[in-house]
């Protein structure tokens, strides 16, 4: 009994300690972001590994999610004789929810885990220590560019996901199932609001991008510097990112659309 309590207490303290470390790290990382304006080539490199290398999975998943939405939406709507609203259903689902959320989950799996593994390995192979000894702050030199790149790449990826999804839904709905082309687009334009839907979706994806990247670089930087520690950290990145994204999605949705 006492042991259980003690263990609970220790787990709680450990949790708060990690939470504190994560926030302190975030502050240090953010402090390193403004100077990057002078050395944007560092960010370009990271945009490549975070954004460009995630592009393929985002394009393919977006297309398929859009096609599935087209198919499912059509089957439901056609019962109400409202197949013309297919465009609205596809676009709203993508722009408000699936775009930001699915992109963030894929981003965590593709880019987040890679970031954690890379930073964790740099720590395990003493590259970060070596930088410190060369009087280069690894937080500013390694973490800040990666954070900024993740922050910038995520909204773009989510927009690409949604756009490709809308095209996928169009391909299935209009191309295969015979929904009217004009109705698909005009109903969509009538119902999807630039501010309420598109902009809020972009805000969501920016928040998710920042949180996933933050978790990824923190786990990497905080990893136990062994191969086992790095692999554990990578797993944690994916799990924690997924939970954070889904939880935040609920909160953001309630804030944005809950009137």
């Amino acid at each position: 009994m006492v042991n259980t309590l003690r263990m609970l207490g220790r787990t709680g303290l450990d949790f708060f300690q990690r939470l504190g470390r994560a926030h302190l790290l975030l502050l240090a990382v953010l402090a390193g972001v403004p100077p990057l304006a002078l050395r944007f080539s560092l960010v370009i490199r990271q945009l490549h590994s975070v954004g460009v290398l995630s592009l393929l999975i985002i394009l393919v998943s977006g297309l398929f999610v859009g096609m599935v939405l087209g198919l499912q939406g059509y089957n439901t709507l056609v019962d109400f004789g409202a197949a013309e609203s297919l465009g609205v259903v596809v676009a709203l689902s993508l722009v408000r929810e699936l775009g930001p959320v699915v992109t963030a989950l894929l981003f965590a799996g593709r880019a987040g885990s890679a970031l954690t593994a890379e930073i964790g390995l740099m720590k395990a192979t003493e590259q970060l220590s070596a930088m410190e000894m060369m009087a280069v702050d690894p937080v500013r030199r390694v973490l800040s560019p990666r954070f900024l790149a993740g922050f910038l790449a995520m909204p773009l990826l989510a927009a690409i996901f949604s756009a490709v999804g809308v095209l996928g839904g169009w391909f299935v709905g209009v191309g295969l199932l015979g929904v009217d082309d004009g109705a698909y687009w005009s109903q969509m334009q009538a119902k999807v609001d630039l501010y309420d839907d598109i902009w809020n979706g972009v805000v969501k994806s920016i928040v998710f991008g920042a949180v996933v990247t933050w978790i990824a670089i923190f786990e990497g930087y905080d990893a136990v510097p062994t191969s086992e520690g790095v692999s554990r950290a990578t797993t944690r990145t994916v799990v924690h990112s997924a939970l954070a994204v889904l939880g935040l999605d609920f909160i953001l949705t309630a804030l944005m659309f809950g009137d």
Binding site: E126, S129, A130, M134, A135, V136
Partner: protein, 270 residues
């Protein structure tokens, strides 16, 4: 030339968690010398280098490098001092996303405003010094362990530091690259007027180049002197370490209950 020691450590105490690593260590490193810190694995030799480099802070005691109290420096002052220190990590710690050339150019690009032409000249000079000018376009993953260390050495001297710290430079090297490294450390030290600190447990190689040797054990300096002095020393500890005797002040057995009693104790308690 200044006669005060470059590094002066006094009454150093440091513990990791509950485990004391250093328990009152005094060390002086003379300018221009090659000083070796030796001791069995786990005596905190690497920790000592990190303390000198300011990556760790002592619990008690003082560490002065070139008159600067490392243990009290923070931020910019610490970074300024570090620019004058080079460190060679055990496995080189080369940045894996850059090739050899960029690795050596890294500190120059980070800390100087030199033009790329000048940087190229400096990088090629450092590479020539370690004999790897031809390998400048290889990635770290394509280098052998010995080559990686030589590249790391070139990087460590890129900013022309006053001292270089070597963390286990000889571990896991074949005899040839071991010989190359031994010679490099000595010649670079003398040619560039460096001060070198070597942390190692490879006795032969280290004794061959060290001007002065400290033996550490149990968190204290147990013996010190030149190679010859240690050889002649009557310290049981120095004898055991220098000759690799299995038993002595460092016991062969991990602390355990009495052997006979232990055998007769029946089943193993969980």
């Amino acid at each position: 030339m200044n006669d005060t020691p470059l590094v002066r450590i006094r009454d150093l105490h440091f513990a990791r968690g509950d485990r004391p690593i250093f328990d009152g260590v005094d060390i002086d490193i003379r300018r221009g010398s090659v000083t070796a810190i030796m001791g069995p694995s786990g005596t905190g030799k690497t920790t000592l280098l990190r303390l000198i480099g300011g990556q760790l802070r002592p619990d008690r005691g003082s560490i002065e490098v070139d008159g600067e109290p490392v243990h009290r420096l923070r931020g910019t002052a610490l970074y300024t001092l570090r620019k004058r220190m080079g460190m060679l990590f055990q496995n080189g710690a080369l940045l894996t996303d850059m090739d050899v050339y960029d690795n050596i150019a890294f500190p120059l690009r980070e800390h100087t405003e030199l033009s790329e032409e000048l940087i190229r000249i400096l990088v090629l000079m450092k590479l020539e010094a370690v004999g790897l000018r031809g390998a400048r376009h290889l990635m770290p993953s394509e280098l052998s362990g010995g080559m990686a260390r030589r590249v790391a050495l070139a990087r460590a001297i890129a900013l022309d530091p006053m001292m270089v710290m070597y963390d286990e430079p000889f571990t896991g090297q074949d005899p040839i690259s071991m010989g190359v490294l031994v010679r490099l450390i000595r010649t670079l030290n003398d040619a560039l007027g460096l001060t070198s600190i070597i942390v190692s447990h490879d006795i032969e190689e280290t004794r061959a180049i060290a001007d002065y040797i400290y033996l550490l054990s149990g968190g204290r300096v147990v013996a010190e002197g030149t190679s010859a002095e240690l050889e002649a020393s009557d310290s049981a500890w120095a004898r055991q370490f220098l000759h690799g005797e299995p038993d002595g002040p460092v016991p062969f057995h991990y602390p355990a209950p009495d052997y006979a009693e232990d055998l007769l104790a029946g089943t193993e308690a969980a």
